[in-house]
Symmetry: C3
Subunit: 267 residues, 3 copies
């Protein structure tokens, strides 16, 4: 993975301002929208069953995030997903808290089965729970290391037929047996709510402009990690990190990627 | 429009802390409430059908924003609007994303017809969509310049019988054939989600303390623009802009208005 | 109340990362989650009737906040509260806007009667409204001083059988006739939305690690006040206060508590 390839996607997002339709959770709607705006994309949030298919029909990517789930929202997720699939626009599914409750695990599994997403992005325990329902997780936090779940991620990628991204100290991007690793980021990012959700939303913007879902997903995670590092260096804590992260996304330069990228890619 | 008149409204808001009832979207609730608090108003968010009429009955202005619409919320918007109309408190309607889906356009049109708002505030494409249903917009962003929609804004003002505010590089405030223009603001504000929604909420605070809806709306847009400029000068990107904007609203001085106001008003 | 006791709770939160289940309002979900993360706790937001009992069953504390109430959420609050009670995990109830509408007052009263919370935390007018239904409050702001409501707080504590916390310029922590006072904090905090909601959430984290509900509640309010002071000293307004507050929570030192704590406790 070369910085120039990431940068080309990034510039395309800025130039084309792809509309990314988000059906996401209440906690992160504001920060997710701001992150998409900061990189130059056009976010829209809409969840009413009356309009989701029409909205997904205008968008270039759909991001579905189950962080604060309820029945009417689930119906909208299925309807939007069906519209996206029909129009062949990529869908990113973020199974927030999957494994914490049967409701979340079951909903995430059904969504993935029905929608056939282009990308599933979660933390290690969420990805693991998608494969091994029944093992409880501790809320929305991750209990296993990325290495422990690489096998699961590969298995999920094969069974779901999509790219699987596992966020962690080292991010994994998996497609079948192909694995890329991104070592960027900063531990303080785990103290800001919704950083994973933001990664999923940003992945939506990248898959909107790059037909290689694997590359786009890896590029998105690289941008998250590099912007997170830049932001953490300027921050006294998670409050300032949250805003410095948006500023870093907004002001990201190709040279930042060149200097900082820590990526391992398949040969 | 003179800075002193804007300042008088501003001081009245700080002194009287008018209660502004918001039925708004999930994305901006936090920033909207914070902007109202920063200028000295008292925000309340309430959307349950069981309480909206009672809450609107206590408020001095009602702000209805359709950014993340669903059926139960629409019912609450009509009920709150009816209560506001009965009590003759001013209502501001923000038709977020109007034109993007039939559901939004139709809901906004019905709300305006039923509630008879004092102010409609949107971007150019939203205002245009209210008049010319069927022309799709690109999500919540504007595709037309303020000049192109001035005619539409005047037509909408006449047909809806209210003040129409069109946000853009130059803001238009229209009542019938009367047009004021505010040239303040900064392009970086378009990279922060909900700045338009904040403008609508702040307009709610101004119409609560100034019986001239036209003047109050223009004053609100002037304050938005001047505070946005001050904030942008202090900011590295949209993350810091968001917080500097709240600080600028909080610390706004009459001298800021005197030095910065770029307004054209009808003679 | 000694700084060392507060610090012990704080370190326990950082070490154990207790899962705090929040059913709270849309306005503050993001800032509440971030505040819990900043002190080292693990927040989870979940409100679907299908999962709240299961989620509350994993958590070490439950925080119920009625700031943007609606019927489905109320059902979830009762279900989660029942699960928490059965598992004997502490529940904090925040009666936001209680007194403003009959719907809120009645819901808050029924929740408290049914759930038997460990802590009720509100501002003076909310606490007063819980005892004297029928006296309208002005939205979510407080109209009475803490001293005026101490008698009410004690009465509520006795009738509800729990700790009552009244936020204000001086915070009151009441259990029966026992009263502690915390004089920390800063007036600018009242210009940031959801600071009270954050106090309730943080109280959830403290009662999760300290079996003395009275001590835990007082410790939580002390941390809120001290972090608020530190943040206010670094801030130009409520925008920067919001982020500096999270940074101050994150970076809090025992020496900050030693130098700043202004507490009066029962002998």
């Amino acid at each position: 993975m070369k910085p120039i390839s990431i940068w080309q996607d990034f510039q395309r997002i800025r130039a084309e301002a792809p509309l990314v339709h988000n059906i996401t959770n209440y906690v992160v709607m504001n920060t997710t929208a701001n992150a998409l705006l900061a990189i130059g994309a056009s976010p829209v949030m809409a969840h009413a069953i009356e309009e989701v298919a029409e909205m997904a029909g205008m968008a270039r990517a759909l991001v579905i995030n189950i962080g604060t789930l309820s029945t009417p929202w689930i119906e909208a997720m299925f309807a939007a997903g069906a519209a996206a699939r029909q129009r062949r626009i990529p869908v990113v599914v973020d199974p927030v808290g999957c494994g914490a409750t049967l409701f979340r695990t079951s909903t995430a599994q059904k969504l993935i089965e029905s929608i056939k997403p282009a990308v599933i992005r979660g933390n290690a325990s969420e990805i693991r729970a998608l494969l091994h329902a029944g093992q409880p997780t501790k809320g929305v936090d991750s209990l296993c290391t990325p290495d422990e779940v690489q096998e699961d991620a590969c298995a999920l990628s094969r069974s779901a037929g999509c790219v699987v991204v596992v966020s962690g100290a080292v991010d994994l991007i998996v497609e079948g047996n192909r694995v890329a690793r991104i070592g960027n980021g900063h531990s303080m990012m785990t103290r800001v709510t919704g950083m994973g959700c933001t990664a999923s939303a940003i992945t939506g913007a990248f898959v909107a402009v790059n037909a290689s879902v694997f590359d786009a997903s890896a590029h998105a995670m690289a941008v998250m990690g590099v912007a997170g590092e830049i932001a953490a260096e300027r921050s006294q804590g998670p409050g300032s990190l949250q805003l410095n992260f948006l500023d870093a996304l907004y002001g990201l330069q190709e040279s930042d990627l060149v200097q900082r990228l820590q990526a391992q890619i398949p040969e």
